[in-house]
């Protein structure tokens, strides 16, 4: 039921769209019919898949680095208040500055011969912050009595981290990961837009290119793939969350 209902809704919407576009005679360069989009997808399959692969690589790399650096920094923050006080304003600065505005700078710094690295850095900036704040919050909210228990057990900081803090923070970290996964994709798209022609070959660039050529059906096909990528990413992370938490965490009790 949980899967069937949304699928049926989707099919119904596509059918309405198809019929409505035919009946209202909407020109193809404004709104193509779903069947035309499907055809565009099949026609350009190889190019689109290659583009999908490029965007996926940028997104995955950005997500990985965002997660690793955010968790690492969160651990440092929770150990050393001074470092947090010193660095936090700059992390916030990085977050509030619109990434589109810094992206050209990063492209110049990293160099146009290294575009994929620049794309990853831009997407990383977008994905980093929620991962950091969620990790910090998770590490901070450990029951103080459990800390006392570790103290009385003579745990060193590494044992305390592995046995107590990381597992206790895992629910928050994974919440952050679900947000960051989506943001990494958005970051990758923004980065490709900014990097512009020639330099990038991902799905976002296909969208711009198709738009310029008024191949609206191809544009929609790319868009659909982008959404599909985002959905797969989200459910993949949700599945990881379920895998790691369902046995013990309250949020998975009864269903």
């Amino acid at each position: 039921m949980r899967y069937l209902v949304p699928v049926l809704v989707g099919i119904a919407l596509l059918a309405i769209w198809e019929v409505w576009v035919s009946l209202a005679n909407i020109p193809v360069f404004i709104l193509p019919r779903p069947s035309a989009i499907g055809a565009a997808l099949v026609d350009n399959f190889a190019t689109l898949m290659a583009a999908l692969w490029v965007t996926l690589k940028v997104t995955a790399a950005a997500f990985f680095w965002a997660a690793a650096s955010a968790i690492g920094l969160a651990i440092i923050f929770t150990r050393a208040r001074l470092i947090e006080m010193a660095l936090y304003p700059y992390v916030v600065t990085l977050q509030v500055t619109p990434v589109v505005a810094i992206a050209p700078l990063i492209l110049i710094w990293v160099g146009f011969d290294n575009v994929s690295r620049a794309l990853v850095i831009i997407a990383w900036i977008v994905a980093f912050f929620p991962m950091l704040t969620n990790s910090v919050q998770g590490l901070r909210s450990v029951d103080p009595q459990l800390h006392d228990l570790m103290r009385l057990s003579g745990a060193n900081w590494w044992q305390r981290l592995c046995y107590l803090e990381l597992p206790a923070a895992l629910p928050s970290i994974l919440t952050g990961a679900k947000i960051s996964g989506g943001l990494a994709l958005i970051g990758a798209v923004v980065a490709e837009f900014v990097a512009g022609s020639g330099a990038s070959t991902g799905l976002a660039w296909r969208i711009i290119e198709a738009g310029n050529r008024l191949e609206i059906a191809t544009m929609f096909a790319s868009l659909a793939l982008l959404s599909a990528l985002g959905i797969v990413l989200f459910y993949l992370l949700s599945f990881c969350e379920w895998l790691l938490l369902h046995r013990w965490h309250d949020s998975f009790q009864r269903g």
């Binding site: 006392d148 228990l149 057990s153 003579g154 044992q159």
Partner: protein, 247 residues
């Protein structure tokens, strides 16, 4: 020889609340002390002071290394993602005992608290009393020279409590450890301990020795027990004779 001692110790929390003031008490090695008093009088605070989890704001505490202390918190304080067995063995693992040693101690501790069948259960699958017994097993498995216990049996039914009372006394005898046991229950204090400290509003109000001479298995029927109950009730401010009649 004292295992623990408080020398005119006081504790003031960060919010300015004075939880303990001017407490002087000795805990001889191998002694069994009960700590009784009304809710909020500072029993848990005193136990935390003894464990070195809080530092006295005035006076001093002479204690042991924290690794020598077994602590049973007032709440179960279990790691939700670890099974019963994994919770019990974690302190042993951290201390670096051999696998075989850990396994024997685990089996023994599970047996003692009657949770052998639940070794692989997760805390959320247990009742409140069962969780408390896991916490107790965890402290006992460490075989510490000093056991500090904060109302460990409060959530248990009377029958289980009576059995664990006897088990605890047997462990105390056998391992020759020093025990400080917080309880609300006058009868439990009189039954378990050699001595009871009565607290009120952050101060020690009375120290009552419970006569152990000629103690038999049927201590609950002995006149010394009834007397101790009466004395304790009185020190706590009950109407004289009220509790002793019931006991």
């Amino acid at each position: 020889m004292n295992a623990l001692a408080l020398n005119a110790a006081g504790l003031r929390y960060d919010n300015g609340f004075t939880a303990l003031s001017d407490i002087t008490a000795q805990f001889a090695r191998g002694s069994f002390t009960a700590l009784v008093g009304p809710s909020g009088c500072g029993k848990s605070s005193l136990l935390r002071l003894l464990a070195g989890l809080e530092q006295p704001t005035i006076g001093s505490v002479t204690g042991l290394a924290q690794s020598d202390i077994g602590f049973v918190f007032q709440e179960p304080t279990l790691l939700a993602w670890r099974s019963v067995a994994e919770n019990i063995t974690l302190p042993l693992k951290i201390e670096g005992h051999a696998r075989s040693e850990i396994d024997t101690r685990l089996a023994e501790a599970l047996q003692l608290v009657g949770l052998t069948d639940f070794a692989d259960a997760l805390p959320r699958q247990l009742s409140g009393g069962m969780k408390m017994r896991v916490s107790l097993a965890r402290a006992l498995a460490k075989r510490p020279p000093v056991l500090l216990m904060d109302e460990p049996f409060a959530a248990l039914d009377e029958l289980t409590r009576f059995r664990l009372d006897d088990d605890l006394r047997a462990i105390w005898r056998q391992q020759d450890c020093t025990i400080v046991f917080v309880t609300h229950s006058v009868t439990e204090a009189a039954y378990l301990a050699e001595r009871a400290l009565v607290m009120q509003e952050g101060k020690l109000k009375a120290e009552i020795t419970i006569d152990q001479a000629g103690r038999t298995d049927n201590f609950r029927g002995a006149p010394t027990y009834t007397e101790a109950c009466a004395e304790l009730s009185q020190a706590l401010g009950h109407k004289s004779g009220h509790k002793s009649g019931a006991a």
